[in-house]
Symmetry: C2
Subunit: 862 residues, 2 copies
């Protein structure tokens, strides 16, 4: 890159500003609100926070910049300083301060070196009041840059300075300082916005910041790739509001840049510094160093000891209080500290990058991933997740030799657990931190503590409303199902008087064989009891679990899906008699769930079929009894996102109720708005005896499951002996952290003040997937069927033979393409799905769906 002439800089910026300040205020709105743009990690990039206002953030930024831009350095570094939000502008301009001080220090240290520094100070946007001030009454400032050999333009929106002759081989050092938004009054930005206008919403600010971080420093004169340091300086303290009122620690969280925390050396400063440090770490930031001014109170010693040497605490000499002091001597005195800071930051940066590079190899060597054939996962396919922000992962990738952090939509919802947007995520973190500190985990049986009680209350008033009266806690869907089965069987034995005291207990001299009634293709978990309740499949083969026998009466079920823009019903042959084609087509999903179908001819077919199957089994042996019905309501998830005809499931429930066979709904996948209602039981219009919940219940952060039951199921376990009780439990039963997150998430999802998707009247989620686009996809020739319901969108690709089914790799290329497009897809064989959270904006969903549509179109082509 050749060094451009100074004259080529965009000197007209100020003039534009003069004529039409409003032109600077244009901001495009990004709607994928919580995602940070891709972030180039190749060079050290830090964010500077203050533990209070006035603790010296700008001094630290300037000192660090001066240390990087030292004329004696071997390499001519570039340094980008960004001040996203500046109030008190232009009177106060941290960017100008940095520009001036670093320039002056550079000049001081030139010592005849041929090095040169090109320093500039940009303003991108200013409020009208600030612009006026800038043009009219610009206050006189001592401008060191004007002295000596520097070329200086006292513009305002754009100032540029050259120090030295720039004769050095390899080009000039470069300092670029930018103020992104300036307001006139020296008050909190959100108040300045109130008084002066120029409201900047969070995503616009992030987008501009991301662009500034991403842009290469034009005018850098290096033949080789620039070595750029980037520093963002925040305004006020860590939790000071930004322009929109969002706290800055939340505002900048999607970038999750490593932090420099400027501590407070004054009386009370230990407290302020620790509180600020924790405020950052409890938002998932990494603080790399704390720097603070010495006030002879040894605050640094206390901090170091409290932080157990987890991070360095650097001490700066006292800052002269004389306003006429140009601080250059102070900077000189501090140069060793800044040099240490620079080394610490550099080494942390290098270490981070190295670790990110090491991680896939180490993962491949140490992890044993579930449901994964390691032979099929080359190192390059391992995804390195640096963090999550709401619905998006932040993924490390090397792209065109750049170290990138890229947002990727968690379209598999991390095995269907995810629900939080970026706000709920931090709220959950807070409640979890509080619970961990208040309770850790405490013993549950015979005890009570607030989170468990609150969680039980909310579950019974929510997903259990109208039928359930008891909550039994465990750890995951599989254990919740094992517990449900034990409950249902006992209830069955109780109702049918199969107990130790009864002559029926040992039918024909041995225990009866209890079976479940269940559907082919359903799935209930991986522990043996849950496996036994599902029909034979890839998961249940002898080499997977030699103890599996399949203790069910498994029925084939009719299925629904969208194809060519219409909902279709696909019915097993045995159920087809008397059905007309019009009975099998539906214009909307709502029609499928319509209660009027209960009196349709097909309802009769269903009832007869179920009844016959139950009779057949009863006829085959007197010692075989069906002790429970277990179904995944509406959707078979792991089985490949198949939607079962709700009418059929209603018929199953009815036939079992008639026979006093307890009903278990496995809502592990479907619970908590997954399908657009708080529970799928509501959607189905059925009341179970037992229901299992997990996954989304805690908002998607920590394992917890609940099995809810009616009081009459509970009663079947009462007796005089402990041996009658349900002797099943896990160590962390009803652990406080899980219950606290569940309590928060359950309320958050259903509250219209926190979840804009809630239709309060109808107690449903708004339509999240653009219906037109859904239909369009259902017409694609590569597509066999489509499901769109609540937070779920699924599409089965047309495939035959080994290309179809769970182990198929048919969709691999599509998956890789989508991942490159920013969608973290994990297919179920030839079934691709997108799953958002209950609070995800419909706009965001449609954006993702567009990408999917595009990719499937292309997939067809190749």
């Amino acid at each position: 890159m050749a060094l451009p002439h100074a004259s080529s800089f965009r000197r007209h910026a100020l003039f534009l500003l003069c004529r039409s300040p409003s032109r600077f205020l244009f901001l495009s709105r990004s709607l994928s609100s919580s995602a940070a743009p891709g972030l180039d990690l190749t060079n050290p990039t830090y964010i500077v926070w203050g533990s209070n206002t006035g603790v010296g953030k700008t001094l630290v930024s300037a000192g660090l910049a001066a240390s990087v831009l030292s004329p004696s350095s071997d390499d001519p570094f570039a340094f980008l300083y960004l001040k996203p939000v500046q109030t008190g502008f232009p009177c106060d301009s941290d960017a100008r301060f940095v520009c001036q001080k670093v320039s002056a220090l550079f000049r001081r240290h030139l010592n005849g070196s041929p090095a040169g520094l090109l320093a500039s100070d940009h303003l991108l946007n200013a409020s009208t009041a600030a612009s006026r001030e800038l043009l009219g009454g610009r206050p006189e400032q001592p401008d060191e840059a004007v002295e000596g050999d520097a070329a200086s333009r006292g513009l305002g929106a754009y100032e540029e300075t050259r120090i030295g002759n720039g004769e050095r081989k390899g080009g000039d050092f470069r300092l670029v300082c930018k103020t992104l938004f300036g307001w006139k009054e020296a008050i909190s930005p959100h108040l300045a916005v109130e008084r002066e206008g120029m409201l900047v919403d969070d995503s616009s600010l992030r987008e501009l910041l991301g662009r500034c971080l991403g842009s290469s420093l034009q005018g850098g004169g290096h033949g080789t790739k620039e070595a750029i340091w980037r520093v963002i300086e925040t305004a006020g303290g860590v939790a000071s509001p930004g322009p929109s009122g969002t706290l800055q620690c939340d505002l900048y969280r999607p970038f999750r840049l490593p932090c420099i925390l400027v501590g407070d050396g004054r009386l009370g400063g230990i407290s302020g510094t620790i509180a600020a440090y924790e405020c950052l770490t409890f938002r998932g930031y990494d603080v790399v160093a704390i720097v603070l001014e010495d006030h002879s109170l040894s605050n640094g010693v206390s901090l170091q000891s409290y932080l157990r040497n987890r991070l360095p605490v650097l001490i700066l000499p006292p800052v002269p209080q004389d306003p006429l002091n140009d601080l250059l001597d102070w900077f000189n005195e501090s140069s060793k500290t800044f040099s240490s800071l620079k080394e610490i930051l550099l080494s942390a940066h290098v270490k981070r990058i190295e670790r990110l590079h090491d991680m896939p190899r180490k993962a491949g060597r140490l992890f044993w991933w579930p449901f994964t054939q390691h032979k099929l996962v080359p190192e390059k396919n391992v995804t390195v997740i640096d963090s999550r922000c709401g619905e998006n992962f932040s993924i490390h990738k090397v792209k065109d030799n750049q170290e990138m952090l890229i947002p990727q939509f968690d379209a598999c919802a991390s095995w269907w657990t995810q629900g939080p947007d970026s706000i709920l995520q931090i709220e959950l973190a807070k409640d979890i931190g509080y619970s961990a500190a208040r309770y850790g985990h405490v013993m549950f049986p015979e005890n009570v503590y607030e989170p468990a009680l609150q969680c039980a209350e909310l579950l019974l008033e929510g997903v259990g409303k109208g039928w359930a009266s008891r909550a039994y806690f465990s750890d995951n869907g599989s254990t919740a199902v094992e517990i449900a089965l034990k409950m249902a069987f006992r209830k069955y034995m109780f109702d049918h008087e199969i107990c130790a005291a009864s002559p029926k207990f040992r039918l024909h001299g041995s225990c009866p064989e209890l079976k479940v009634l269940a559907l082919n293709g359903s799935y209930h978990g991986d522990t043996l009891g849950a496996m036994e309740a599902q029909a034979p499949s890839s998961y249940t083969s002898f080499i997977q679990q030699p103890w599996y026998s399949g203790r069910g009466l498994f029925l084939d079920a009719p299925e629904c899906f969208i194809s060519n823009g219409l909902w279709n019903l696909s019915v097993p042959d045995c159920l087809q008699s008397n059905l007309k084609p019009e009975d099998m087509r539906f214009s909307s999903c709502a029609e499928l769930f319509c209660p009027s179908r209960d009196s349709s001819p097909i309802a009769n077919n269903y009832a007869t079929y179920i009844s016959e199957k139950l009779c057949d089994l009863a006829g085959s042996s007197h010692s075989i009894l069906v002790g429970a019905l277990i179904i995944e309501p509406v959707i078979h998830g792991a089985g490949g996102m198949h939607m079962i005809d709700p009418l059929f499931q209603r018929a199953l429930v009815r036939e079992c109720q008639v026979r006093k066979i307890p009903i278990i709904l496995d809502e592990v996948f479907t619970g908590f708005w997954r399908l657009g209602r708080e529970s799928a039981a509501e959607l189905l219009g059925c009341q179970p005896d037992v229901s299992c919940f997990a996954k989304l219940m805690t908002g998607g952060v920590v394992p917890l499951a609940a099995t809810l039951t009616t009081e009459s199921v509970f009663e079947a376990f009462k007796g005089d002996s402990k041996l009658m009780a349900l002797l099943h439990g896990h160590s962390y039963s009803a652990h406080a952290i899980g219950c606290a997150s569940a309590a928060k998430a359950v309320q958050w999802f259903k509250d219209p003040s926190t979840n804009a998707n809630i239709d309060v009247e109808r107690k449903i989620l708004k339509e999240l997937w653009d219906v037109e686009l859904v239909h369009k996809i259902s017409y694609l020739p590569a597509v066999k069927r489509v499901i769109a319901l609540g937070t779920l969108f699924a599409v089965e690709l047309k495939a035959d033979g080994s290309d179809a089914g769970y182990a198929s790799l048919y969709a691999s290329s599509l998956v890789q393409k989508l991942r490159a497009d920013g969608l973290y897809i994990r297919p179920l064989g030839n079934v691709i799905y997108l799953m958002c959270g209950p609070c995800t904006s419909p706009h965001f969903c449609s954006e993702q769906l567009h990408k999917l549509h595009q990719s499937i179109c292309e997939f067809r082509k190749c």
Copy 2:
């Protein structure tokens, strides 16, 4: 209570102080360091925190006191103001300030009312420098109390004032202000200690504070029970260090008093207030109200909006800056705000007490506790856990009509999960909060992220060192065991060429029947697969799990225990041949684990017995194969804390290794120092093929399990198809929060700088249970046997018939007695145990053991 004469007050306090300041410095040391003394909740008790120094904590305390002590109140309240730590003393004395201002305000508002106020200001301890200052150069202070009708004594260590004539029926109002510790210099307390001495360790400070809170206010002249408000005012900001250097937010945590946070209304104050608020909540405190001075920056509005109206934010008028202003007008102007504050605090207090009272009833109605016969749990037996601090619960109890919070040692270690002391608990909360904010939970398969990788690294370098190379994550011990069984069976099939391709696959036309080799009395979890690996027991009956069949070859095992001061070996009859009595007695536990026993005659008996049992099974049918050995190493936990002869378990392992039967160690209970070594495999001296870990792995806060394996087990799952992979997984596999806590806990426990119990050289825990006392207990006539190993102390009470075994209620009275004594015991039938954490001090353990000893002695008597 009659009103004593003023002269009866201990006026001599000052004179003692004059003569021997050191007498005031005596502090008894409590060794149960993290437990707060029992706390009387009957009356409102609050702690006042500052979001920074100088934000007006004392003004708020005084304003609140004045509001409570208003002459126009119906009831003559008492108000106790405590300032535990005061620096700048006696020049600054917040207690004196409160005393003077409240007195002056009371007088102002008398308006001819017959009410009287008795106000006193006490100093309990002062540094030598502060005492000298107090006696010598006491600075002149405007003393409003001297004016008017007040009786005043200008003492210093004790001042007393009476306002009004005290002629009102029902007695005087009372204000008692106490400074617990005063230092002269106006610096952080920990620095003052450095310079002036009078080091107060945390537990001494808490003990004195507890005593002050607990004491009734002598001199209160009410015939009925006093209505006392209690307020503790902290020093500096929330995270300012106390005298020992411990942050005050940590120092006062065991009390977990509800908080008033004094916010900061200045520029930057939003940030400081939010950070302080979070600093408190992330330590498990409840902030009930925020109060801040108005600085015309609308900080209150931002705070209110950020806190989503979760708590009230009250605004005080600007405080006059003139040092001569006596602030009485300001207090008047603020009286409405303070009155609101008082109402808010009172209502929060009442609500808390009501909820605590409601909880047992609600719990009994909504919960379904695991392993609990609800019929046997009357409401009065339900334990209300308000919080945990390290090894102790804080329990709500009504005692003598007082609402009490009482510390109770979690002796059941909350189903053996617990490990943290109070410091680690907060450290875990921090790491958990950070992980939740950084990751929430993210998808594990084919991915990598820091906590999962770090956790895997630490497990494989720790409990897996020397043998394991892969970590498979799941949610609890039961799932870890189900996974282990699947792994072991596959490995067995692989080694013995039982696979689809081999003719052996279908022996005699059907699949072989795979069994586990296991011990009678062992327990591996409650999901069906784990249950199948254990011998028939109460847990496995038909009414508990009709699908259980018991798929094991279950052997009887020899057992060890202490009885009459000696370790005894109890061997099943079939193993007794050739054994002499001296072979069955051991003077220490170490002898039992001595490798030299491998060549003893008994070793031979063991090997022969095992070998014969395996041959017998093989002879019975060709299609039955033993595909895995599974044992709980050393201790059968849920089976009743039985210690199995380690030599026998070594023999089992050896016999299986010879036959290429994979070895599974179920270390769910024993892992991570439970038994004094990081793993029980170490203690046993065996290398397994597969090991299961859970419980203590996360430090006892959140569910997570790991199944570790050798590389050769992993290899048995490699292949070209996904169907060869281990198709078992749970939604929250390797969830970030669990992995992060595990990473912290695993390191914390083994690091001598964080765990004083670690003997680094020998990689063992120091002896935690006083050996002499253990032997003494083993001699008691009520005691059948004793086990003391690592963090476990167990004793089996002599009992016969239905008094023995899991369902026995034999120990009920002992359990109730111990709970009343502060030990939360949960027995296994007639087996009582204490379980501490790896970091618990031996002194604390012995204290508990003493209580147990005492109770067992008494138990025998009744």
